[in-house]
């Protein structure tokens, strides 16, 4: 059987033109997906059943036992952390927020270690963004700043920018210019019309210099700014001003470097400045599948996009205090529920040292680095492969993901709903 127009569950591009060939409830071939998506669809090393750490051994347990363990763990904790959420669907994220409120815990998603700083900047100065389709059809200038789509979002270039056709562009490949700004000469830099190499940590200064040039204050710019010559800065500013429609896509090269959210704020203000001359937009290259959805769901349910603390009985948000890395590093939480992410692979070691000291339950289809710190791991269906649900693309467009094969695994929503029902029962008693 061939399933057409399946939605890829790997990165924030959510490519929706994937063809998946299924035989005997196994994916045997994938067409149109990039290497990352193909590997995800073909992944077979799933955990077979829930497991419990018993001293220095792992024991197989039933779903009922595992779900009861997780519910009891959250109910008996004083300050539980519910973290992850970007690898799952919106319906499961909703249940997660309800659970966090019920136990007065902290719920945070992986955006706190990816585009959380971007959201902080957007809260300060707004987000002049647009959908990917607008960029594909209209943009004659695309800037990738601190992002390397060839490695991280491989089809972004072919579906929307460098290699894409554009409705309002006569010859998109010739007429659309691509600028890459990075500290490394990445593969993406190699296919750019203009590569701007910045010294590490110099993004803020270069953005400020470009803003000054766009404002007509070129005379104030020194000979080089963070390793970039004034001549190149003027050339880039002129390319931007002469474009009919420009689009900036920025990556973690801005959010993880010194300045963090202030870098993004400066980039948004550059776009605002450019919009006095022409049309310009800016958007984040959201990485992990439905991480955008976790921000959307959290925002419409609590008012805040990540790092939400219910310990006061109301939603409280203070990044740096209520975010997962900080809470773990301060050894503050006394239990953790991890869903759709792998903090043991992606958090600093100090956080893992605390994970080793507290009860941890993880919902994940695969054994991963966090498995080592779990008391219980519950395997679930993969959203977009054997579970369906809603995910948000990197430009904020919600897409209903499809199920391409049937398995006996429960979905995240089913497991979390059963957990939540047990917690509600216990509260009512």
């Amino acid at each position: 059987m061939i399933v057409k127009d399946a939605v890829c569950p790997f990165c924030g591009c959510l490519c929706d033109d994937i063809e998946v060939e299924v035989e005997d409830d196994r994916v045997v071939a994938v067409t149109n997906a990039c290497e990352l998506g193909t590997t995800k669809f073909m992944g077979e090393k799933r955990l077979k059943n829930p497991i419990l750490r018993y001293g220095d051994e792992w024991k197989d347990i039933t779903y009922d036992t595992a779900i009861r363990y997780a519910a009891d763990m959250l109910l008996s904790a004083e300050r539980p952390l519910l973290y992850g959420w970007s690898g799952t669907h919106g319906e499961a994220q909703c249940v997660g927020v309800h659970m966090a409120e019920l136990v007065r815990g902290v719920i945070d998603n992986t955006s706190s270690v990816c585009h959380g700083p971007s959201i902080l900047a957007i809260q300060e100065v707004g987000h002049p963004g647009c959908t990917l389709g607008v960029v594909k059809n209209r943009a004659d200038l695309v800037i990738y700043w601190g992002s390397n789509p060839i490695d991280a979002h491989p089809r972004h270039l072919s579906r929307y920018t460098r290699y894409a056709e554009g409705f309002f562009l006569e010859n998109a490949f010739r007429d659309r210019k691509v600028i890459v700004v990075d500290v490394r000469k990445t593969e993406t830099a190699n296919i750019a019309d203009e590569f701007v190499r910045i010294k590490p940590g110099g993004d803020y200064a270069v953005l400020s210099a470009l803003r000054a040039i766009v404002q007509g204050k070129t005379d104030t710019i020194p000979r080089t700014v963070a390793g970039v010559t004034r001549e190149q800065l003027v050339r880039v500013a002129n390319l931007c001003k002469s474009a009919k429609f420009g689009a900036v896509y920025f990556g973690l090269g801005l959010t993880m470097t010194p300045g963090k959210y202030k870098n993004i704020r400066n980039a948004i203000e550059l776009v605002s400045e450019l919009s006095r001359h022409t049309k310009f937009t800016i958007s984040a290259m959201r990485g992990h599948y439905n991480v955008y959805g976790s921000n959307e769901v959290n925002t419409w349910m609590t008012g805040y996009p990540f790092g939400i603390d219910f310990s006061r009985g109301i939603a409280f948000y203070n990044p740096g205090e209520t975010t997962a890395v900080d809470i773990l590093a301060r050894k503050e939480c006394d239990a953790a529920l991890i869903v759709g992410s792998d903090p043991a692979a992606h958090f600093p070691r100090k956080c893992l040292e605390h994970l080793a000291d507290i009860p941890v339950v993880q919902l994940d289809p695969y054994p991963n680095a966090t498995t080592a710190f779990c008391n219980v791991q519950i395997p679930v269906a993969v959203t977009g492969i054997d579970a369906e649900g809603t995910a948000y693309r990197m430009d904020g467009v919600p897409i209903r993901t499809r199920r391409v094969l049937s398995t006996d695994y429960l979905s995240d929503r089913e497991v979390l709903s059963r957990m939540y029902a047990l917690m509600q029962e216990a509260q009512e008693r």
């Binding site: 590997t39 991280a152 993880m256 990044p319 890395v325």
Partner: protein, 129 residues
């Protein structure tokens, strides 16, 4: 020698990210991409082991020459090896300095640990069924 360590996504890291117990994931995320002049100065050949020491500890990786990185910087794919030495401070933003970490790098005869060994060093219990 002192370097600035930058971490980030690579295709190979992304391809193996759902199979973190594999040798391929360990090999990719324990690779320290360096400028060839820096490797020359440290007497390193491709695949040699290096001890990378950060503010929070040390970890052994394998050096690999790359034309992408500038002298004085190294690039390590996202994963448990780089994070073994990344500090947890977030400057009140929630975000650690994943792309701006000062590290010391020196040659070593030790082999990089497996992901399981790294997790067990921090109090975890490997699951490898």
């Amino acid at each position: 020698m002192t370097f600035l360590m930058i971490t980030g996504r690579t295709v190979n890291q992304g391809v193996t990210v759902e199979n973190k117990t594999s040798a391929e994931y360990a090999a990719e995320t324990s690779t320290c991409f360096m400028h060839e002049f820096d490797m020359l100065e440290l007497g390193l050949a491709d695949g040699d082991s290096v001890r990378v020491t950060g503010a929070c500890g040390e970890v052994v990786m394998r050096a690999s020459a790359s034309v992408e990185v500038e002298a004085g910087t190294v690039f390590v794919p996202y994963g448990p090896y780089a994070n073994h030495i990344v500090a947890a401070g977030t400057h009140s933003t929630g975000m650690p300095d994943f792309k701006s970490h000062e590290v010391e790098i020196e040659p070593t005869d030790e082999e990089p640990k497996t992901v399981h060994e790294l997790m067990e060093d921090l109090g975890g219990l490997a699951y490898d069924r």
